[in-house]
Symmetry: C2
Subunit: 199 residues, 2 copies
């Protein structure tokens, strides 16, 4: 017997993070009973997003255009570049701090065992920007995990070799934690008291 459309819908919701069978059921019933319009809108926007959202050619963040809004903006400070692991980390910094510089989204961290090296993180592209652009400081905001720290050291070297000053977020971000889940106050403080990196 083929699964009913309702069963297919419940199954499809399970693609979302943290959504098990029970929650997926609640979601399906909720949109069917009370949110038909919202369900239609979610279906449309999600379909469009899956098709049209790619990566910014300059910073590798998600973008529907060739350049994301931040990279295309004339009002950002081009002397500052902030490297983050993920788009979620970028958004966390953008929302918590007053940072007005630019970003570079690694879309991961160095992890040789998983086959993630400099190429996968777009470090050639980052190196070019550090060489050609007016960047004076590279703010390295990778996560304070073992791999995130290793990535930070690699990026710091990359910066120094090109005459760019590397810096790292201040203590305040809990060790082993994920940047994305740090509260705004802590993140804002850590961002403000970032320190220069030495060997």
């Amino acid at each position: 017997m083929t699964a009913s459309l309702l069963e297919q819908l419940i199954e499809a919701f399970r693609v979302l993070p943290g959504v098990g069978q029970k929650t997926a059921q609640r979601m399906a019933y909720h949109v069917l009973e009370r949110e038909r319009e919202g369900g239609v809108r979610l279906s449309k926007v999600l379909g469009e997003a899956m098709e049209r959202i790619g990566h910014c050619a300059r910073c590798r963040d998600f973008s529907e255009a060739e350049l994301c809004a931040t990279c295309a903006s004339p009002s950002r400070d081009t002397h500052l570049l902030c490297a983050v692991e993920s788009p979620a980390d970028r958004m966390a910094i953008e929302q918590a701090t007053g940072y007005r510089g630019l970003y570079f989204v690694l879309q991961g961290r160095l992890s040789p065992l998983d086959g993630i090296g400099p190429r996968e993180l777009g470090l050639e592209q980052l190196a070019e920007r550090l060489s050609e652009d007016q960047v004076r400081e590279l703010i390295i905001a990778t996560n304070p995990t073992v791999e995130g720290e290793a990535t930070a050291h690699y990026l710091a070297q990359l910066a120094r070799q090109r005459g760019v000053r590397p810096s790292r977020l201040a203590h305040g971000v809990p060790l082993g934690g994920e940047l994305e889940y740090v509260d705004r106050g802590t993140l804002s403080h850590a961002f403000g008291s970032r320190s220069e990196m030495y060997d």
Copy 2:
């Protein structure tokens, strides 16, 4: 400035129950980074479901066909009818118990202050079934809330007037609780030891 597609996607996810800004962000990033295929499938199935899932003409449960699979099945016991408030309650009973009779989904409970009366719950249709069909027992599985109890008493009268024996789930479902969230064991036990209703 128009909202970006990503911002629209985050906003659209908030239509789901229990999903705030932070969770909506995580969902959007998750499908974009790791689940493009799953995202496309969810978009399609959700769109189809919003368009095609209506109500079964016989039991008022969700159904994409004129009759739902349960009502259309030749192997269900037509002497038993179970009235529930919502499709979620119907599914909870179906999954937790060995019940093989039919259902009637009220899609609500009597609530005069909210303008929900017998007409809104399809009680005319239910009365017809109790009169015409071979139903011998009406198992009333409304929630043990004040309104659910009032609805149960109304349904019990409706049944008695038509020579059908009304019964109610046994104690075991916690008072004030929602059927949908009761664990399977408790629900199965309560269903099995349902008792006849008297005035």
